[in-house]
């Protein structure tokens, strides 16, 4: 793999150059926390950050997005005929500083939006026009468990470029063609030779700092209905949950949405908004019957989806990259690591499991 050395003194100049082709998104500090935001002209990404509080999934999958539009004016030709909004632009964009765990969430989510039968054009077009310039993690949080969730602090599998902070310069692994194109546009071409060992060492150092993990080896083998009916897991976990939806909101791998219509002036809009399985309205029938009417049922849906249904459906690991956001932000300390390990070790004969985070 090609590795380039980017002197930090040349960093700003390169960023200015790629602005001509890409709109730029990167970490910026907003009050106390970092978010991923559009970088205005002259604005630089703040690369001294741990990770954003909310995952950057909205770059590809906005929290609220107009998917169809029509005229509500009876005089006009497209009166009440929904079409794709013609002003929807998919300009090339580059995300600077995205963490490997968040990049690894994209293929997890893509399995939902890109299927044999149906393709979600909005998600896919946004994904295709995005170049990911990741930043390897040297100081993971205690709540991170990426290495046991199919990701890792130096996982470059789903990045186009991976930057490694090396004091006065970045080492940049150029991973894909998209990455190559971006590096070229930035004028970064100072090849770094003979640093493979150093990078390998940095990687294993970072990995050894991940303090917690999940066990997932048994999840596929567990009978689905046994886990579903494991009330010893669900009752205790659901007891404290207030169904606030924070966990699904901050999560890079949660994709559920709602569709609503609105009229503004003489135009009609069909809008897709993030939704959450934690809310009773998500499944409420018009008859008032609700198949997931209790908070136990809703909490169970979240974990069963991530750790069992997804595992069985796609045979491609769990629907979680171990970013730790839901662990850090749940107001009542519900911990997916603990629940995952309980599900993995659940014994339906005795209804017991090991309830530890190791």
């Amino acid at each position: 793999m090609k590795v380039i050395r980017i002197d930090k003194n040349d960093w700003a100049e390169g960023i200015e150059k790629i602005r001509k082709t890409y709109s730029l998104i990167g970490p910026v500090k907003e009050k106390f926390y970092h978010i991923f935001a559009n970088l205005g002209s002259g604005q630089m990404p703040d690369m001294e950050f741990t990770n954003s509080r909310i995952s950057p999934k909205y770059i590809i999958y906005p929290q609220s997005e107009i998917i169809l539009k029509c005229s509500m004016n009876a005089e006009e030709e497209d009166y009440k005929i929904y079409r794709e909004p013609e002003d929807k632009e998919y300009k090339e964009k580059a995300v600077l500083g995205i963490r490997p765990c968040d990049a690894d969430s994209l293929p997890v989510v893509m399995r939902n939006f890109d299927t044999d039968e149906y393709k979600d054009p909005y998600w896919l077009r946004a994904f295709e026009t995005t170049t990911l310039v990741g930043l390897a993690c040297d100081a993971p949080c205690p709540s991170c468990f990426c290495t046991s969730a199919g990701s890792g602090p130096y996982n470059h599998k789903n990045l186009d470029v991976m930057l490694i902070d090396n004091k006065d310069h970045y080492l940049a692994e150029i991973i894909t063609e998209k990455g190559e194109k971006l590096a070229e546009a930035a004028g970064w071409q100072d090849k770094a030779e003979g640093i493979a060992d150093e990078i390998a060492k940095r990687k294993s150092d970072a990995e050894s700092k991940i303090e917690s993990n999940v066990h997932t080896d048994n999840l596929a083998k567990q009978p689905l209905l046994d886990l579903y009916e494991a009330t010893s897991i669900w009752e205790k976990a659901a007891f404290a949950c207030i169904n606030c939806g924070t966990c699904t909101y901050v999560c890079p791998t949660c994709w559920c949405f709602d569709i609503q219509d609105e009229v503004y002036g003489r135009e009609g809009f069909r809008i897709r908004n993030w939704d959450s399985c934690m809310y009773p309205l998500f499944t409420l029938h018009a008859s008032a019957h609700n198949p997931r009417g209790t908070k136990l049922a809703r909490l169970r849906q979240r974990f069963m989806h991530k750790l069992k249904y997804y595992v069985d459906k796609y045979e491609n690991g769990i629907q979680c990259t171990g970013c730790g956001r839901c662990v850090r932000l749940c107001p009542v300390n519900i911990d997916i690591r603990r629940i995952c390990n309980m599900m993995n070790s659940y014994d339906p004969e005795t209804c017991t499991c090991e309830a530890t985070v190791s």
Partner: protein, 281 residues
């Protein structure tokens, strides 16, 4: 890339009030672009999203049969935001339909078999589609005996009354119409609940007999033990589910029962399949 969210524009061609309480109306739609009718080629048992711009979209079973050409029909119960608005719309109005969505009754499996259709209330819509489909001169010989057991609260609450009578008059279909109660001395059909009539009139659940059951949860609950008694195995009981839906294409995440999406992997499941999934419907 085909955009799965864009509905086909349609015009409301005809609206018919079905029931005495006016809570159910049948809408006949004609496609604005004739080529869309071909793209909307469906099988009996599938559903579509009816789209009213500016108001919303709702999943509704297709009540017309693929053998009926030039239009599609849906029968809609007035209950909430979108259905109430729809009930206030007029012939000639423009709206949209998106689909066909979901799977269908297993027509290949059902060929050469006896079929008993058991329906209650307004869940009879895709069953109408199925009956019309099976009775089509091209198709009738593909199936052995056909029984239909259909019940509503009262005679005035039965859907498709003219068609019911014409089916009852045929000799290649055993029609059992029932109402919960009725004081009309002219009433010539059954009175009593669907499970009871099924017990009296339903054919035995032999190896080559399949039951398609659609109705309110309470009807299904009490029909199941009757079918058991008649000898229907779980894989020969076919049901259609209705969960709250939005996308209809397996993406928005709300309609699942376990790892199955009712919108995409269903809505039609055998009882055997349902017994292997969480009962979240």
């Amino acid at each position: 890339m085909e955009n799965p969210y864009i509905p086909y524009p349609v015009r409301i061609d005809e609206i018919k009030t079905e029931t005495e309480d006016k809570s159910l109306k049948t809408f006949k739609f004609v496609f604005l672009n004739p080529e869309d009718e071909e793209k909307f080629s469906y099988r009996a048992g599938q559903f579509a999203e009816l789209s009213i711009p500016g108001i919303g979209e709702i999943p509704i079973g297709i009540a017309s049969s693929p053998t009926e050409k030039g239009f599609v029909k849906f029968t809609i119960f007035k209950t909430g935001k979108v259905t109430s608005y729809l009930h206030s719309m007029k012939e000639g109005d423009i709206m949209g339909i998106r689909g066909p969505l979901g799977n269908w009754y297993p027509w290949e499996t059902l060929e050469g078999k006896n079929v008993v259709i058991i329906g209650g209330g307004f869940a009879f819509t895709t069953l109408r589609s199925s009956i019309i489909y099976m009775l089509d001169p091209e198709n009738r010989q593909k199936f052995k005996d056909i029984h239909v057991i259909y019940g509503a609260r009262s005679p005035g609450m039965l859907l498709y009354k003219d068609e019911l009578e014409s089916w009852a008059a045929r000799d290649d279909l055993n029609m059992h119409i029932t109402v919960d109660s009725c004081d009309d001395p002219e009433w010539t059909h059954h009175t009593g609940f669907v499970p009871t009539v099924t017990e009296q009139e339903g054919p035995a659940g032999t190896e080559d007999t399949y039951a398609i059951v659609c109705g309110p949860p309470i009807m299904i609950k009490f029909t199941q033990p009757v079918l058991d008694k008649l000898g229907y195995s779980e894989d020969r009981i076919i049901m259609s589910l209705e969960n709250r839906m939005k996308c209809g294409i397996g993406m928005c995440g709300r309609c699942n029962i376990g790892k199955e999406f009712v919108c995409k992997d269903g809505p039609v499941f055998t009882l055997q399949q349902l017994n292997q999934t969480p009962k979240e419907y």
